[in-house]
């Protein structure tokens, strides 16, 4: 269940030229947050809709979000400073099912899909799993949060152009190591998620994917953020990313 909370910004840190990390005092939302959920933030008077942003961390009443500046809303958010107050609704959505991870789960993020995997990987470790992360970025300049993941477990970092870490896609890394893992959790561009889901399904291990869609209310009422899912009889049904997701079982998704 989501609540509304006015959170106070503690710190705004630029992680790259267009990626920012905000830490926010939001104790009520943090107390409810589960791995894979998101928050929905009002971004100034000029932007009507809230912006959905995944939770990177929620510990001790402090919410951390990491986002890329894409338009006017996220630009406004990137200009917040310590002491500014944000109107936040959250934690929203259905996160990762932590009972399906097994002993050796792998957490895979692509680009701005990397941040939500941190909280999820930490939660996996806390419940006794030995987690691995595979992080994919366009190039060396886009690499974020690598050191945070390294404090939790093994990390493979790949870049599309080979300018940092492994030269290649996260799917190449997964394919090479798939026999070591008991489950896959991932967030990133849809083609990446689809490729990862195929590898996991061929290996016969569960794969949970965090999806993205243009969103309205963020609580499941307006029905705009549809994701095509498979019914048991093969027909299409629509789930809503904000309430039924953002995390879905990869086998449910109509790719």
């Amino acid at each position: 269940m989501s609540i509304q909370e006015n959170g106070t910004v503690r710190e705004n840190q630029a992680l790259s030229h267009n990626i920012f990390a905000l830490t926010i005092d939001a104790p009520r939302i943090c107390a409810l947050a589960q791995p894979g959920q998101f928050v929905h933030i009002t971004c100034g008077d000029a932007n009507l809709l809230r912006r959905p942003i995944s939770i990177c961390q929620a510990h001790d009443g402090i919410l951390k979000i990491v986002f890329v500046v894409k338009g006017d809303g996220t630009k406004w958010l990137s200009q917040r400073r310590a002491g500014d107050v944000l109107d936040i609704v959250g934690p929203a959505g259905h996160g990762f099912d932590m009972t399906r991870l097994g002993e050796k789960p792998v957490f895979i993020g692509g680009g701005i899909g990397v941040p939500p995997m941190l909280q999820t990987m930490q939660a996996a470790k806390a419940q006794g799993a030995q987690p691995t992360a595979i992080l994919g970025f366009r190039n060396a300049d886009a690499v974020i949060l690598e050191e945070d993941f390294q404090t939790v477990g093994t990390v493979y970092t790949a870049t599309d152009d080979g300018s940092y870490g492994i030269h290649g896609f996260v799917s190449d890394v997964l394919k090479e190591h798939i026999s070591e893992y008991t489950s896959v959790c991932c967030c990133g561009p849809k083609p990446m998620l689809r490729a990862l889901a195929t590898i996991a399904e061929e290996a016969g291990i569960p794969c949970q994917v965090s999806m993205e869609e243009r969103m309205g209310c963020g609580i499941g009422a307006c029905l705009v953020c549809v994701c095509s899912l498979k019914k048991e009889n093969g027909d299409t049904r629509y789930g809503h990313v904000c309430k039924d997701g953002p995390v879905f079982d990869s086998k449910e998704v109509q790719w």
Partner: protein
């Protein structure tokens, strides 16, 4: 403390604030944020005779102070609404406004007949949704079609029938007169304005359905104008809607001629929007020494 009660087609609402169909689901999500009994009424998601899946994503595009949507009337069908949703909504001390659509006159008659026998307070008949390719738009834009579908529906309606008008017409007063002469007990307006956005990078439409309905504060002046014109043209209660966000917007819409209002897109931006607007409205009445909300209706000074 002002008297907030208003009367819509013989049904007393405890205050003039309702929610606009399509932005509120069946209320479950908002009930997590506040007591739905705070509101005068709730406008439930639009219903069709059978379950409807709606359009694929993307269904929404943001625009300055507004949104375009092409949900396409996704709904579980009228029977599931009656079985599952009415009992939920009846837990709250508020009036239930069911919203119904059809693709043919026969479908409208069938669904109005069915919902009449259910435990709802008002029936809002959508003859204006621009989203469904073979749907309501034709009815709502031609006076003869409006008369035909409204008179057929009115013949079977056992609850007050409110006809929801589309703004995508040349002369809204002419359409309003057609609906009232065919027996509409009340009118609600405006539905969304047909619009379109294009992604200039991909050169493709943002919405899956190419076009969609524009709503939100951007359309508020259009809505006020049309409520004013309709109030001048006919003598039935009007539920005014279209971009209402604040208590002052409610006052303005009522001055134009609305007996009650519906808040829609503002709910999407802020789940607490109707409750905040109601409080602001109440504060406005008190600070201006207005004894009764109802006296605002049509009280525009020219």
């Amino acid at each position: 403390m002002a008297d907030l009660r208003v009367n819509v087609c013989g049904v007393e609402l405890k205050n003039p604030v309702t929610t606009a169909s399509g932005t509120f689901g069946f209320g479950h999500e908002y009930a997590d944020f506040y007591d739905l009994g705070t509101l005068g009424g709730v406008g439930a998601k639009g219903l069709t005779p059978e379950e409807q899946l709606g359009n694929p994503a993307p269904r929404i595009a943001e625009t300055p102070m507004g949104i375009l949507n092409c949900v396409g009337l996704q709904n579980p069908g009228v029977d599931r609404f009656i079985a599952e949703e009415i009992p939920f909504l009846r837990q709250f001390d508020t009036k239930i406004i069911a919203n119904v659509s059809g693709h043919t006159v026969e479908e409208y008659v069938g669904i109005v007949e069915k919902i009449s026998d259910a435990d709802v307070d008002l029936i809002e008949m959508n003859i204006s949704c621009p989203n469904v390719k073979c749907g309501g738009l034709t009815f709502g834009t031609q006076p003869k079609m409006v008369e035909e579908v409204v008179s057929a529906a009115k013949a079977v309606a056992k609850k007050p029938l409110i006809v929801k008008l589309t703004p995508n017409v040349t002369d809204i007063a002419e359409i309003a007169r057609a609906a009232v002469s065919a027996g509409a007990d009340g009118l609600s307006l405006i539905n969304t304005l047909l619009g379109m956005r294009i992604d200039v990078e991909s050169r493709r439409p943002i919405l899956s359905n190419i076009m969609g309905g524009l709503s939100g504060p951007a359309v508020f002046p259009v809505a006020v104008r049309m409520v004013y014109q309709v109030h001048q043209a006919v003598d039935v209660p009007i539920i005014g809607m279209g971009g209402i966000r604040t208590g002052r917007d409610i006052v303005e819409m009522m001055l134009a001629g609305a007996s009650a209002v519906a808040i829609g897109t503002a709910c999407i931006a802020d789940p607490m929007a109707p409750v905040k607007a109601l409080q602001e409205f109440e504060d406005f009445l008190d600070s201006h020494g207005i004894a009764s909300a109802a006296e605002l209706t049509g009280a525009l000074q020219l």
